[in-house]
């Protein structure tokens, strides 16, 4: 359903990821694991069209995606960046509404639907997003991405700086939207627990390359592998 093929990219002249290929099938949740600095975020930014491709491309349902990130969003790619990057001087409602409206959906209905999905945002609805806590911003960033009605959702370190109770809630929500709305998810993480709790399959990255592909059960069973993969 969603594929990244032979992706090579980086910043300026510096190549960070080399020849990365991976696939997320329809309705699947896949994790992208690896230590700090191996290029997970770069893969995500590559897929979202935020860094120029030195080689390779990304495609949805067999159609190669254009360079413009805005067009990718309209083709059904939702992106939740590391560090959240909500629009700080806009309210929670506006953050969601602008995402819906930019893709031709009714902002009012979308906001209502998402507020039901994420009750944690309801009391903050009219506050500026910049004033929310890290966890609330993370949920908002997720809601904003969902407002674009994506077919594939890219999550970059969604648990970073988020308290455990919200992490549990988030994994519940992700599983539900995955099932109910049939949204495929690719999640880049360092938090192994979180990944094991939602993903069925994982790619492990090292030094800018995909090192191996592994299913959940093998990974869960093998403690030595866990340590090795994450370089502890």
């Amino acid at each position: 359903m969603f594929k990244i093929l032979n992706a090579t990219g980086g910043y300026g002249k510096t190549t960070i990821i080399r020849d990365i290929s991976l696939e997320v099938k329809a309705g699947e949740i896949v994790a992208l694991l690896g230590r700090n600095g191996v290029g997970k975020s770069t893969v995500m930014r590559y897929a979202a069209g935020l860094i120029p491709a030195m080689a390779g491309h990304a495609e949805i349902e067999g159609i190669p995606m254009p360079n413009s990130p805005a067009k990718r969003a309209k083709m059904g790619l939702g992106y939740v960046p590391q560090g959240r990057f909500v629009f700080p001087r806009m309210t929670v409602i506006e953050n969601i509404a602008v995402a819906a409206a930019s893709n031709g959906y009714n902002p009012k209905n979308t906001v209502e639907e998402l507020m039901e999905d994420f009750p944690i945002l309801v009391p903050k609805a009219n506050e500026l997003a910049g004033g929310l806590s890290g966890g609330q911003q993370q949920v908002l960033a997720l809601a904003r991405a969902l407002a674009t009605r994506p077919k594939i959702l890219l999550l970059d370190e969604p648990t970073e700086g988020v308290q455990p109770s919200i992490i549990d809630e988030m994994s519940g929500v992700l599983k539900r939207i995955n099932k109910e709305n049939n949204i495929a998810i690719l999640v880049a993480e360092q938090d192994l627990d979180f990944c094991l709790s939602i993903a069925t399959r994982a790619y492990v990255m090292d030094k800018g390359e995909v090192h191996m592909e592994i299913d959940r059960d093998s990974l869960r069973a093998n403690k030595t592998l866990q340590k090795e993969l994450l370089g502890v």
Partner: protein, 604 residues
């Protein structure tokens, strides 16, 4: 170096020298009226050069140059009016006083801009405000100073001309002689400035423009150099203003006006930013254009100027000289060719040891580095929570921890990028808690940040040299040290290559080499292995272990494999506090450590 390269290298001297001589001959021959008019073009070029020093070299777009020009002009003229009768000669009074007041006004403005560490936009705007402030003041300012009468809107008149003879009979020079005199003065200033910009001062200024935070990490007081450069440019502008006043015999407040403030940037952009000679080309072209089209006020000069400016910004950012320069370079052998045939770096431990022993002789023994109850918070987040650490030479120290554990905040507080809320940082016997970064470096701190910080436009050897010079203040010794480090890294062939042409990994090594040139007594390294290949990581580990024998070494690192090769002391941070410590085997056996590291929680 081939002949063609030699010619290219010396073009900044030979071409202006030829231009000066030609100009002198032409000045002698041309029509007096044309000589009179073209004198002003040269003066505007000088004003443009003063901006080029600040903008092209220093990196600050100043709209205050015309203010220094005006201040120099007014005070230089007042001096000339009052004193030139004593000697006959007007310029020995006017020029020094004019440049002095240009420099003083630049000092006043520059102090605020640089010492308040203002942002780019704010600096530009403040310089503009400064000019406008003077404009509005001078329009109504009326005062008699000796025989000079400053008459607000009506300006300052009766300014003597350019007189170089002495005694009562000395008279103003005719237009052709005046032009020749100005050519000589301007040529002297150009060559002086070029010399200055090629000296160590100019190189430091270049470094500040490219990366001011790295320059400070090399131990240079960035603000001082920026201010000195600004003052020098102010003096040049003041002198240009005085020449202008002597040339026109009259000065009005319009020198401070809005339109005037934007002329120097136009000269610089047309000629080429950072070329020093460019502004003269720019001023000359605009001068000729308005002469042909019939004066700057009427005619279509403004129209053409406006369009030219837009086109320059859009399509010819380097201006005329800058573009000619890159065209010329295309015909020369590529200096960066050597960057392509580099081998992977192999540390020569013997050479490294010799460097470290030399450093110890010159800079003294390694120093301890300690923090006492160091505390830093951002809003509700406390990334550094009362950390007590004492680092001593012998074995490398590693700080590990998961993302957000406070490793880099701790490091940044030690370096001086963050000011702690409470607690103490000691370097040797000195309390450096509130010292600026460059002073910490002078006391022996060396810092290598995660991303390679090199001066891309400078050659490899110059990068090393600028670091070594910061400590030695001796050009030759600095060169010797840089050559040794160059050999250790195996970069001999790449000596003349621009640092930006090196690969990411090579830039990391060059950055480490720069830190070694500082002969630091304590070294802080932030994730040095990030982005390195396995081979490079091995060499790095060897280097760090060798370093630790001679200095104190602290490494912040995420990669436990790498940390284990260092065979040193390991401290694990978690939520801003020391969570565990010991050697790496002990920590790896500790289930608590693994839980934190893998993000495992009890319920799995």
């Amino acid at each position: 170096m081939t002949l063609s390269e030699k010619i290219y290298q010396s073009a900044g001297l030979t071409l202006p020298a030829i231009a000066t001589l030609t100009a002198l001959v032409v000045a002698f021959l041309i029509d007096p009226y044309l000589a009179f008019v073209s004198t002003s073009w040269l003066i505007f070029g000088l004003l443009g050069m003063s901006l080029d020093i600040v903008w092209g070299r220093g990196g600050l777009l100043s709209l205050g140059q015309t203010a220094f020009y005006g201040m120099g002009g007014y005070f230089g003229s007042i001096a000339a009016i009052n004193f030139s009768e004593l000697t006959g000669n007007s310029i020995i009074w006017a020029l020094p006083i004019g440049s002095l007041f240009g420099a003083l006004s630049a000092m006043l403005l520059g102090y605020v801009i640089f010492y308040a560490r203002m942002g780019e936009l704010q600096s530009t705007i403040l310089s503009y405000t400064f000019t406008l402030l003077l404009w509005s003041v001078i329009q109504t300012f009326k005062i008699d100073i000796g025989s000079a009468s400053v008459l607000g809107d009506s300006g300052l008149s009766n300014i003597p001309g350019i007189i170089i003879g002495f005694g009562a009979e000395a008279e103003s020079l005719g237009p052709n002689q005046a032009l020749m005199t100005v050519i000589i003065i301007v040529a002297i200033l150009y060559f002086l400035t070029r010399q200055l910009m090629h000296s160590h001062f100019g190189r430091i200024i270049d470094c500040i423009r490219i990366d001011s935070s790295k320059t400070e990490l090399l131990g240079y007081d960035v603000r001082k150099y920026q201010l000195l450069n600004f003052i020098y440019a102010g003096a040049i502008a003041g002198l240009a203003g005085t020449l202008y006043a002597l040339w026109s015999n009259f000065l009005s407040p319009s020198v401070f006006s809005i339109q005037e403030a934007f002329l120097p940037p136009i000269y610089v952009l047309i000629g080429g930013l950072g070329t020093l000679a460019g502004p003269f080309v720019g001023a000359l072209m605009i001068g000729i254009m308005s002469f042909v089209l019939g004066g700057a006020a009427g005619g279509q000069t403004t129209l053409i100027l406006g369009v030219t400016l837009i086109l320059l910004v859009l399509f010819l950012k380097n201006g005329i000289l800058g573009s000619l320069d890159s065209l010329w370079r295309k015909f020369l052998p590529d200096p960066n060719a050597a960057a392509r045939n580099t081998n992977s770096v192999k540390i020569d431990v013997e050479v490294l040891k010799q460097i470290l022993i030399d450093a110890e002789k010159q800079a003294g023994p390694a120093k301890n580095f300690s923090t006492i109850q160091l505390f830093k918070k951002f809003g509700g987040v406390i990334p550094v929570n009362k950390v007590d650490r004492n680092f001593i030479p012998g074995k490398p120290y590693s700080l590990i921890g998961a993302n957000g554990a406070g490793k880099s905040s701790f490091l940044k507080t030690c370096v001086g990028i963050y000011q702690p809320e409470s607690g103490v940082v000691n370097l040797g016997d000195d309390n450096i808690t509130s010292s600026p970064i460059f002073e910490r470096v002078k006391k022996g701190m060396g810092v290598k940040n995660q991303k390679p910080q090199v001066f891309g436009d400078l050659s490899v050897i110059d990068n090393l040299w600028i670091a070594a010079y910061s400590r030695t203040h001796d050009q030759q010794i600095a060169l010797d040290i840089s050559h040794k480090v160059l050999c250790m890294l195996g970069f001999e062939e790449q000596l003349g290559v621009n640092a930006s042409a090196l690969s990411h990994g090579q830039q990391q090594w060059l950055d480490i080499g720069m830190v070694l040139c500082l002969a630091p007594r304590i070294i802080l390294l932030d994730e040095p292995a990030a982005g390195m290949t396995k081979e490079e990581t091995r060499e790095l580990s060897l280097l760090i272990r060798t370093l630790a024998l001679h200095t104190t070494v602290v490494v912040v690192e995420h990669d436990m494999d790498f940390v284990s090769t260092l065979e040193g002391h390991v401290t694990m941070l978690h939520q801003g506090e020391v969570f565990a410590e010991g050697n790496i085997e002990e920590l790896r056996k500790d289930e608590r450590v693994l839980d934190v590291y893998l993000g495992r929680r009890k319920h799995v």
